[in-house]
């Protein structure tokens, strides 16, 4: 059977066609009865592959297997990643018929992108600056804690990990709003600082501004750091926990000081955890709007706030989509750059 001999090409073709069908369905390329046709094509292609696998003999099955195994993942991505991204990019290049219209006409409207940069440049900068600082802070705070739990935790390891995670069972929103009570102008922390006469020091450090702890850039960065700490701590803990204690003993046997043993053995082996933690922290933090909304002031808004405002208050889907697309592309670029510079091959 010639068909069976070219089973790998058929498998690839079927994968591509079915992915395309799912994108078409998800992104709404067609309307009405045409969707049923697309669905029929999808079902036929998938059924065809199954038929080929069943009746094509062992060689055909062998050639088809890789594509069959890829299918669930790729089709999932086609429906839940490619189709939404397609819609996002399409709307970002569209114009509205009128101010309150819900119809978007595709028009290669690049001015949406120029508006995203010209009107919201400051928000982009702040988003990346704040999330960068917050990521550094989560490493500075999270690494020692993970280290202590992994190497000194003993039989309390699970208890200590639990203590790190349990506060995060509460809603994200509630925890963030709780900070605004704790840091309020007449709240406990500010009163304590003024009793101790530390307000001037904090003002000099730029943590406080005009006697306020909350509604400052420092509060926004602090909120991001707090909220994303477990996402840094847990991957670092996992990679530290896997390190064989004998490696450290070996370093000590070879007359390494504890500092050098940490620097040359433990730290390099924990880098995959740091890398994964950085991604898990930086990416959501850059798009976050909750912290800036509740802990910030009108001069500390991040790009997430602007996107939310354009989507949910101004009804300006084209500009909001353009901003989202720019955010996605710039985060991807930053992460690629980061992984080239510091990435390890053994990403956990």
């Amino acid at each position: 059977m010639t068909l069976a001999r070219r089973a790998d090409n058929l498998g690839l073709g079927a994968l591509a066609v079915s992915a395309l069908c799912l994108v078409a369905l998800g992104a709404g390329w067609f309307s009405g009865p045409l969707n049923a046709v697309v669905l029929l094509v999808l079902v036929c292609v998938l059924a065809g592959v199954v038929v080929l696998a069943v009746f094509g003999g062992p060689e055909a099955r062998h050639l088809l297997a890789p594509y069959g195994l890829m299918k669930p993942g790729l089709l999932w991505m086609a429906l839940f990643f490619l189709a939404p991204v397609w819609s996002l990019v399409r709307i970002s290049l569209s114009t509205k018929e009128s101010r309150f219209s819900v119809q978007y006409n595709f028009a290669w409207a690049w001015e949406n992108y120029s508006r995203a940069f010209s009107d919201f440049g400051g928000q982009f900068q702040r988003a990346f600056l704040y999330s960068f600082i917050a990521t550094i802070l989560t490493i500075v705070i999270g690494y020692p804690i993970a280290y202590v739990i992994a190497f000194r935790g003993g039989r309390y390891k699970n208890l200590l990990l639990g203590l790190v995670v349990i506060p995060f069972f509460t809603s994200y929103l509630i925890r963030t709003i709780a900070w605004s009570t704790i840091l309020a102008d007449q709240g406990p922390i500010v009163s304590l600082l003024s009793t101790l006469g530390l307000v001037d020091v904090f003002e000099w450090l730029r943590i406080m501004d005009n006697g306020k702890l909350i509604n400052t850039p420092a509060a926004v960065i602090g909120g991001l750091t707090y909220n994303f700490l477990p996402f840094m701590l847990l991957p670092i803990y996992v990679s530290l926990e896997k390190i064989d204690a004998n490696l450290v003993n070996a370093a000590n046997d070879l007359y390494s000081t504890p500092t050098a043993a940490f620097r040359k053995v433990v730290f390099p082996l924990s880098l995959p955890g740091v890398f994964a933690g950085t991604l898990l922290t930086f990416i959501p933090a850059a798009g976050d709007f909750v912290n800036a909304q509740f802990l910030g002031n009108p001069n500390t808004t991040m790009i997430g706030n602007s996107i939310q405002d354009q989507f949910l208050r101004q009804n300006n889907y084209p500009v909001a989509s353009a901003m989202s697309a720019v955010l996605m592309v710039s985060i991807t670029a930053l992460v690629l750059l980061y992984s080239r510079l510091f990435g390890t091959e053994e990403l956990v």
Binding site: L69, M77, A184, K212, N215, R313, N315
Partner: protein, 384 residues
Amino acid sequence: MNKPTNSGARRNPWTRREFLMRSGALGVAGLSLPALLAACGGGGGGNALVFDNWPLYIDPSEDGLVGSVERFAQASGVDLTYTESYNDNDEYFAKIQPLLGNDKRIDPDLIAPTFWMAGRLINLGWVDKLPLDKVPNKSNLEDNYVKPPWDPTGEYTMPWQAGTAGIAYNIDVTGRELKSTADLFDPAFKGKIGMLTEMRDTMGLILMSQGIDITTISTFEEAAAAFDVLEKAKADGQIRAFTGNDYIDDLVSGNYAACVGWSGDVLQLGKDSPNIRFVVPEEGGTLWADVMVMPKGTENTDAVAKWLDFVYDPVEAAQITTYVQYFSPVKGVQEEVAKLDPELAENPLVFPDAATASRLKSWANLSDDVDAQFADAFSAITGA
């Protein structure tokens, strides 16, 4: 399409990429979630009624009193679902736009947008005429709301409550009584001033403090200087936050020295916290009304009529007024409130006397283009 490879060493970049793509997919899913939420919910038929109103805007059942929702349900037998998810005009509009704009109906049979938003909904054809012929108590409607500027025929709207935006302040923080909108820009209160995201209230006060008449304003140029004032105050760090109804928490906790606030909210608050005060600025405060409209396609018009008739009965309306302390659009409420709470009936912030009324101004109807200019300029400053 990437060809799958079997070598173990080269699989690692794949996992990373997959990971990134999934993060992206989650982000996109997050953005479309509100649309999904808005699409939820079915319709009710017959003797049911869903009223979506602003929070804390009706008398609850407490302290031995039976709230209006329960009283109405008992008196009429209508299955009333009273929800409080109307938090902000722009937000709510963005939520209902994809449905009403595509000729689908929304869950509530009755909503209470602010007058200018009601005007927009009427112009878009997204609301139905009220069943006024089945509302005998419509004769109790105050005269100035019978054919108001936002609803020239008077067929689409009946006010729920009206009120004024003025200055709310915490005297423990300010250390002095405030009188004027200019006090909001006093450098002594740097970083302790709140403004509302409701453009007409925040800008209305600033415009009036510049001597501009908001009842006749028709171009953006007239307001440009006022927007500059707000922009400068924001850049200087004078303004702590732009908020919706949640300004109340910051006012009570002392984070705000003063803010633009709504009369009834602050009066309700003042019952428990005497340090919270409200003043109509000497330059003038804005007068607004939240009006009940029926979104297009409502089926339960009989139940809507029963509800309107119920809340336009001065005896029932007085119960609501006593609790919410806003201006009632119902004739005869002041007399009924006098029976319940004589002191409240004399309060000029609930029943404006001539001196107070002369300082209250309501916004002109802005044309669509001008309204868009105002909204854009305002959102550029609020920064969100």
